[in-house]
């Protein structure tokens, strides 16, 4: 009976994190962007600095009419938001936030493998939406999404493999157990490549060519309204949480910190994740959108060679210190 309770509790926690953390990031984005651009942002909803803005947005989305264009592939069109969203929920289960088995949703032996594979499914949602909408903007957006996945999945895989080499395991808690502080400079190139490639896979600015609102309206999501559109937005912010959490676990030492790793490990994980999420928002405000060919060039001529170099470096250092 205890086991059932234990599993139920873990699932509940993961689910609640999945529903709340993206909203926190979203609200932070409203406010951080506003301050960086010298304006106020949402100030009315909820009273104190507009804290309830996203709740109000949620209510609005739930009441909006759900329009499926007559020309669209109805079933696929309706299913796409779920396919885009659910993979991030599953990935959250595998991310450890503290030392020991108690602080991870579920220890999965092939952790990195599982996480990268499942994250790849999320992009499928955008592709389905882009194709099923039967809209020219959506089709273009979907094709751009596919191109971006092709370009940026590879550096992500390679740099994750570099960490697996350093730790000698593909289990996420195992990697954290093996972590030493000097991995930070050792794997720094890999960390940058992984983070940039992850941003591109989430289609966050400056890599938001697939949804570029000023030229193809909103890419694959052009025809979506109401709740289904809200789920796509939720998927984007859940993606930020997952990407920042993974970068923290793989490259920044997760629950390791200068002090207090035993009791307060989870604080370190959350802190590092939050700082990275802030960075994601900061990048959005700072950089203009990359053109499609610049996007591809960045990946194939810079990120892929860099990640190959990182693998070589990891291999040499690891064999030498053995």
């Amino acid at each position: 009976m205890n086991d059932v309770l234990d599993v139920a509790l873990r699932l509940l926690i993961v689910f609640v994190v999945f529903l709340t953390f993206p909203l926190i990031v979203g609200q932070t984005e409203h406010k951080v962007m506003a301050h960086m651009q010298g304006r106020l942002g949402p100030m009315y909803a909820g009273g104190f600095h507009g804290w309830a803005q996203l709740v109000a947005d949620g209510v609005k989305f739930a009441q909006k009419e759900d329009v499926v264009p007559a020309g669209a592939d109805r079933r696929i069109f309706q299913l796409a938001p779920a396919v885009a969203l659910l993979p991030y929920l599953l990935v959250l289960l595998a991310i450890p936030i503290g030392p020991g088995e108690g602080a991870v949703g579920e220890v999965i032996d092939a952790g990195i493998f599982f996480v990268l594979a499942v994250m790849g499914v999320g992009v499928l949602g955008s592709l389905m939406a882009g194709w099923a909408s039967a809209n020219k903007f959506s089709l273009l957006g979907g094709l751009r999404t596919a191109a971006q996945l092709l370009a940026y999945e590879l550096p992500m895989l390679l740099t994750a493999a570099s960490v697996a080499m350093a730790a000698g395991t593909v289990s996420l808690p195992g990697i954290l157990d093996a972590f030493e502080w000097w991995w930070l400079p050792w794997q720094i190139v890999g960390a940058l490549v992984f983070f940039v490639a992850g941003l591109a896979e989430l289609q966050r600015p400056p890599f938001d060519m697939p949804v570029a609102d000023s030229e193809i309206i909103f890419g694959a999501y052009t025809e979506y309204t109401g709740l289904r559109f809200a789920l796509f937005l939720l998927a984007e912010y859940a993606g930020i949480i997952v990407l920042c959490g993974l970068t923290t676990v793989l490259f920044l030492g997760g629950w390791h910190g200068p002090w207090g790793a035993d009791g307060l490990g989870w604080v370190w994980t959350l802190l590092k994740t939050a700082v990275l999420a802030f960075l994601v928002i900061w990048l959005r405000v700072t950089y203009p959108r990359l053109r499609e060919d610049q996007l591809q060039k960045l990946s194939w001529t810079l990120l892929v060679p860099l990640s190959l170099a990182q693998i070589a470096l990891t291999g040499i250092v690891k064999v030498v210190i053995q």
């Binding site: 086991d3 599993v7 873990r10 699932l11 993961v14 689910f15 739930a62 009441q63 759900d66 329009v67 264009p69 007559a70 020309g71 669209a72 309706q78 938001p81 659910l86 929920l89 599953l90 289960l93 949703g105 579920e106 220890v107 032996d109 990195i112 599982f114 194709w131 039967a134 809209n135 020219k136 903007f137 089709l139 273009l140 094709l143 191109a147 092709l150 370009a151 590879l154 895989l157 390679l158 493999a161 697996a164 395991t169 593909v170 309206i217 025809e223 109401g226 709740l227 499609e292 060919d293 591809q296 194939w300 892929v304 060679p305 693998i311 070589a312 291999g315 040499i316 064999v319 053995q322």
Partner: protein, 140 residues
């Protein structure tokens, strides 16, 4: 971790490992069920909450406010199929990195696997260089 499953597999270490393996993925499966339920409930509740007033204009495909021209599934030139091949080759290669990564520095392997790694990286680099020379990696 639930002990019941582990207790059940006390026969040999192999069975225990297999039980653990399926145990962790069964939790993943449960979470997937939770997720599907969440989406189903959200869509169901949305159906009850929202208005349904379709008009022919509303159901038109969106094209900047004018009537759409031609079909949505238009012919487009997929310019990137060559490097889609490139991606498939690279990705399949890099998948094999992961099992290798866990053992390459084990005692007795060190130098040999390191040489192997450089051969592997060499192949990838030559492939990338070839694609670059052929102009696959430039776009207009």
């Amino acid at each position: 971790m639930p002990e019941a499953t582990r207790g059940a597999g006390t026969g040999t270490a192999g069975i225990t490992a297999a039980a653990d393996y399926f145990q962790s993925y069964s939790v993943v499966g449960l979470l997937a069920v939770v997720g599907v339920l969440f989406v189903a409930v959200a869509f169901g509740a949305g159906r009850l909450l929202r208005p349904v007033v379709p008009t022919p204009e509303k159901l038109l495909t969106y094209e900047c406010g004018v009537d759409p021209v031609g079909e949505g599934w238009a012919h487009t030139q997929v310019r990137y199929y060559v490097y889609a091949f490139l991606y498939v080759i690279f990705a399949v290669d890099s998948i094999f990195l992961f099992p290798w990564a866990t053992v390459f520095a084990a005692p007795g392997y060190g130098a040999t696997t390191l040489v192997e790694m450089f051969i592997f990286l060499g192949f990838l680099a030559v492939g990338l260089l070839y694609a670059y020379k052929k102009g696959v990696l430039t776009w207009t």
